[in-house]
Symmetry: C2
Amino acid sequence: MNSKNDRQTTQQERIDSLLSDQGINLTRQRRVIADTLFARNQHLTADQLFEMVKQAGARVSKATVYNTLGLFVKKGLVREIFIDANRTFYDSNTSHHHHFYNVDTGDLIDIKERLAPHFVNHELPAGTAMDVVDLVIRVRNSHP
Amino acid sequence: MNSKNDRQTTQQERIDSLLSDQGINLTRQRRVIADTLFARNQHLTADQLFEMVKQAGARVSKATVYNTLGLFVKKGLVREIFIDANRTFYDSNTSHHHHFYNVDTGDLIDIKERLAPHFVNHELPAGTAMDVVDLVIRVRNSHP
DNA sequence: AACCAATTTATAACTATTCTAAACACCTAC
DNA sequence: GTAGGTGTTTAGAATAGTTATAAATTGGTT
């Protein structure tokens, strides 16, 4: 009706085609998960995303959050960032970039500058192809 | 007695001073764990190390393996490599280097070439100091 | 020998993730 | 419309890795 609702619709359509372009069937759950995750560039754990989806009033199980994130990763729509044994983040920004991780605060921050391409193309092990370059620079607070 | 035992003793002394230089009290368990881990440059999970120590005939609990690895990490004697939510490796080589990880085979391989220092020193977040640079290039088999 | 702090131990607890099998939703054919 | 089939979701159980707990052990010091 008004311009706000028009934007809403457009955003929904944008997300729908994002999924269907990858051959992903549209379901209520996948839509609300995608809506939440792709609302902005962000780093979320599966549990954080699960809570956000609940806050938004949607009834989605945690198993579906995991299933859907796994599907989105496979389709290249999100990127997994493994920080440690009990911290996996899902990054809604799949463009080639890196991260700072503050071990004191738990903050994960984007690095815009890219790693020199010559380095990342340097002599892969025989019989392998590049999948993804994961660069995490761990920092700590200078004055703890 | 013979040259083999001389080397053995020397190796034990080398490891003892490695630990005591860091203010680590020497115990039977810490010695056998260090012996196993520092025998060569290698990437081991806590569980693999636990099994190796058992194979060596030593009675060490898994909790001690975790405690000791945590202590060694804190003292800078080993480096943790977080591959995914259920794969943490401990690298007996703490020199500045990076890794290839083959997602198909699970192999973790050293990269000798270093990341250009200018990049890793580039604009840390305010109030933070560098801890460690973790670069993992994930590859997959070209012909699966 | 007695004491004290540090360490180790078995086991329980915890967390993140994956698995399982049943229920559900949606599409197509009849 | 209803039956059947495929894909999806679900709750809950199961698993794996790791951390916490509290008692027992060790090693060094008076």
